[in-house]
Every structure is written in C-alpha cells, then in structure tokens.
Homo-oligomer: 307 residues x 2
C-alpha cells in the first residue's frame, strides 16, 4: 500500500536513523527555569540547573525558550547575542559549550535572542559532549497571534524567521528541533520523522490561554502521529512578568503517553528515554508503511533540492 511515484521523495521510505540507537536508554533533564531581567543571573542560574541535572544522571539537557531574557519584543534586541562571534559576544552559549564539554553531556540549549548582522532571531543551539556547537535552529514559524482580550503577540515586529529545519545527530540519538510555535505545524515534525528522528525537542513558552488549550495536546499529537519521543521545556511561570508562561515542561512517549510532566513552578524533570520502545510501537501500529503515497506526499523541499 506504499506506492512510489517517481517524481517525489516518498514519506513512506523512512527508517530509524541508526541501528546503534535501537536499544539505547538514557536520562533527559528538562530544566524549567525561572527567568529574570538580569542576564548574568539567568546564566548563572541555568549553569547551576544544568550541573544539578547532570549530577542526577541526565545525558541530554533541554532548556526553555528565551531563558536568558524576558520574553518581549522590547527585550529581544537588548539581550541578543552574536552566537557566531562567540566568546564575550555570546556569554549564554559560551556557558553551554563549557558545561557540555565539562560534564560530557548533550545540551539542547532552549533558545536565546540571536543578533546576526542587522537581524534578530529566536535561536536554539545544540552542543555536543565535546563542547562544540553541533547545530543552530532559528525559529521557523514566528509567533504572531491575536486572541483579543486573551493574548496578542507579534514576534515578527522584531524577529526574522529561520529558513531551515534542524535535525542533528548527537550522542543521544537523532534530534529534530522546533521552538514553541513551530510545534503548531505538523509538517515540521513529519519531516523530522521522515529524516529518522528519535526525539523532537521543543523549547517553548506557551501562555495562559494557549497553554491549557493546546500545549500537551500538540506534544502528544506530534509524538503519536510520528511515533517518536517529544520533549518540551518552558520557563517557570512569573505572574509579575509581561508574558506569563504556562510552564508544564513534559516528556511524551511514542504512543502519546505523558511520561513525565510538572506544573508551573521552577523545577527540573529527570526522566528516562528508551529508544527500543520506538521500534515496538512502530511494529504495533505500522502507520509509516501504511501511508498512502499514491494519494498524498509530504515534500521536504530542502531534502528534495539537495538530492
């Protein structure tokens, strides 16, 4: 039932990225950090949380969206760092690089405002166990929404959208990255699954309106439809801030089951990921093989153009 027209790369043809991960187990740490208006304090605070999570055995640590700055269009230009210049131009990512190497862990570094030339991005950096920057994801779908009387935010007033999906091979598997609003677009998760992702990481700061409506739902949907793990990490809630985050950082398994979650206070979740479950779920419900490539195909344009 997996038809293959010649013209298009076919969604059906995906497989686990590497058999070496098929029975891999490890602990993930989701650091739901309190974020203040003091960048140095935010960096020091994240450092401590990462050290604590690593001490508890986490081999992969995920930070929240915009963890070094308040979440506001006014703050983004002020707190932005030049990640490519590095060193003093980016103290937030310098800390992540230092710790990933020192602690021999992989860090999916939430996101920070990035300055590049005259543009600003909402950017997630992934550091490997050698401290090197393995990948940089610039939020692809900017958060421009308007629910009158509830939540209005126009990220595109200050930020530029990234122009590429980001999937990265790490020592803890193949990880697809999205930032917050990116999770609303099922196509991105489907592209990552087709490229062999084991896990999707979404740093995200949903709010008090969309959080209760959709935060857990979207994570569970992406995990279930694509039969992979989904991890999210939010800032802790600060009701005195201009933008009040929902919290509820969560790890979801490949059947859409919530494996670990929390409320809105600052905390670190340590939870177990077991990739052998992926193959089991994909055998139970072989939806990938059952897709109807004769009726629909999701085209991954970057992949198409690179072939």
């Amino acid at each position: 039932m997996c038809h293959t027209p010649l013209m298009l790369p076919l969604k059906c043809n995906y497989s686990l990225s590497s058999s070496s991960f098929l029975s891999f187990q490890f602990k993930i740490g989701l650091c739901q950090l309190s974020v203040t208006s003091d960048k140095d304090k935010n960096i020091a605070h994240a450092r401590t949380a990462i050290q604590d999570a690593a001490a508890k055995g986490a081999k992969l640590i995920l930070l929240p969206e915009i963890w070094n700055s308040p979440y506001s269009n006014d703050s983004f230009p002020v707190y932005a760092e030049d990640i490519d210049a590095g060193g003093d131009a980016s103290p937030s990512t310098a800390m992540l690089s230092e710790l990933s190497s020192l602690l021999k862990i992989t860090i999916v570094g939430g996101s920070i405002p990035e300055r590049s030339g005259d543009r600003l991005y909402n950017t997630c950096c992934v550091f490997g166990t050698d401290g090197k920057l393995k990948a940089k994801h610039r939020k692809i779908h900017l958060f421009d929404i308007d629910i009158p009387g509830k939540i209005t935010f126009i990220e595109s007033l200050t930020l530029t959208a990234g122009d590429t999906p980001t999937i990265v091979d790490t020592e803890v598997g193949r990880i697809g990255i999205g930032i917050c609003y990116d999770i609303r677009f099922p196509e991105l998760a489907m592209i990552y699954a087709a490229r062999g992702a084991h896990l999707l990481c979404y740093p995200g700061a949903f709010n008090m309106t969309t959080g209760p409506l959709h935060w857990e739902l979207l994570q569970r949907a992406r995990a279930t439809d694509n039969q992979l793990y989904v991890a999210t990490c939010s800032p802790a809630r600060d009701t005195t801030g201009g933008y009040v985050a929902w919290g509820h950082s969560t790890l979801v398994g490949p059947f859409g089951e919530v494996l670990a979650t929390t409320e809105h206070e600052e905390t670190t979740i340590i939870a177990e990921i077991d990739y052998s479950i992926l193959e089991q779920r994909r055998t139970n419900l072989p939806v990938t093989k059952q897709r109807r490539g004769d009726l629909y195909q999701l085209v991954d344009l970057q992949r198409l153009n690179s072939n």
Copy 2:
C-alpha cells in the same frame, strides 16, 4: 512567509469553501448505536435513532462504523451489500436514502461492508436532503495492527482499501470523510482542510486499547491542526462481542475543544455546530498563512493530477 514554488499546488492557498456557510449554525446528531448480529434489527434500530435525532432538530446525522453487522472479518462477507445495485441489494443504504429525503436531513451513514464485484470494502455513504447518494467513501487505510496481548486485527484479510479521499458539499457544509483508522493519518485531514472542509466526519470503532490511548487525542489534534470541526461516531460497547468498541462518540471544535461527548452506552448526542467560529479561530491563529511553503508542502495527488 507563504512562498510559492511553481512546481506544486500549495497548502497555503486554502480558503473556506463557500462564504454562504460562514455564519451557518445547525445541530448534528451522533447516533452511538448498539449493533447486533441481526441485520434487520440493526437497520430498524438505526431508523428509529435517526428519526429521533431528526425530531430533536439534527440536520446532519452521523452513524457508527459498521453499524449493520458485527465488526469481524467473518461477518463482513456475510453482511456486505451491493450499494451500487441499490434497492433490495442494499437495504441498509435504502433506509438511509428514504429517511434523508423524508426528514430533509443530510446523513453521513457510518459505514457498512460493501460488496463490489469480488471485492469487499468498508464504506461510508453520504445522502443529501433529496435522498440521493452524494458520495461514497471506501476506507483508505485498512486497520491492520498488532499489539500483542491487547488487540490484533487484520482488516486486509477480507477488505480492499479505497483509492480516493472523499470530500462532499452538502446542505450543512463541506464535509471530509474518513473511517476509523483513516484518522491516524494526518495527511488525509490536511488534504481535506486544504480543499476547504468545514467539518470532518469519522465513523470509527476504536477498541479498548487504542480507544483510551488515542481516540480523543486524534480527534482533537485533527481539529486543532486544521482549525475545523471533527465529529466521530462509534458503536456502543458490547462486551459480549468479539470486538469490543470504545464508544465515546464526540464532537470537537476548531480549537480542539471537546464540545460534546459520551461514555460507551447506546445514546444519541445532539450538539450545535457554528461555522462562524471557524473564521474566528483562523483569524486568532493564522497558521494557514504562516505555513512555510518554501520548506514543506503536502501534495494532494488526486488534486494535482486533476489540474
């Protein structure tokens, strides 16, 4: 942000099918029927339920998956009807046609086993208010799953899969049809949304394993991602049967909110649908316009080939 390569029809370019439905409100009836091994009784029983729902004001009535027959590979050939021949060759659909005309309602007739030549299908018939068969959806994705010790079912042992998506303009809006396992494939719902659906109807008999795991989740995900209404209708639970249905027929709104649902006993849900909410939700969260057609595109091959 909605880039348009020339080569492919673009997901971004969708709009509501018809402005005449933009402020349309009506009642839907979801008849969660008990199903027995007596076909005549099942037909008489469905007739009564439809009449009752129409008397309560339902202008659209949805029946369960396989409502005229037990749900088993042994039963499908025995209970199958030749829908195209009609009349005495298909008493189940003859009843639906008669009632839709008599009561001036639209019926999305759940599904029945269909015989066509030497093949069997799991088929949903849609009747308009004039009693005419408007569309026939043959389940596209057959239910072949194996969760050892929980649920194993191989529909493809007896059934043939349909070969086309089914979307139909009715007096109560543009409706996309899927049957049960079809709901697991996000692409089908996305195709329907791109073709301007207001509402997706999924007759479905999830089971006691996948029901609690995924039934509500998948409905809410399809509704939220595509910003449309989703209605489902299951048979009532019969714990003495070979296949035990989860029940929980449900209506979900375009923000993924459960508007009406039930447990597993026989009942009819009457609930209100208001299409003006669709435009409101799509303005609140304009995800369709925010899709990244430069990065991914879902190709609807039937539509592509017809252009």
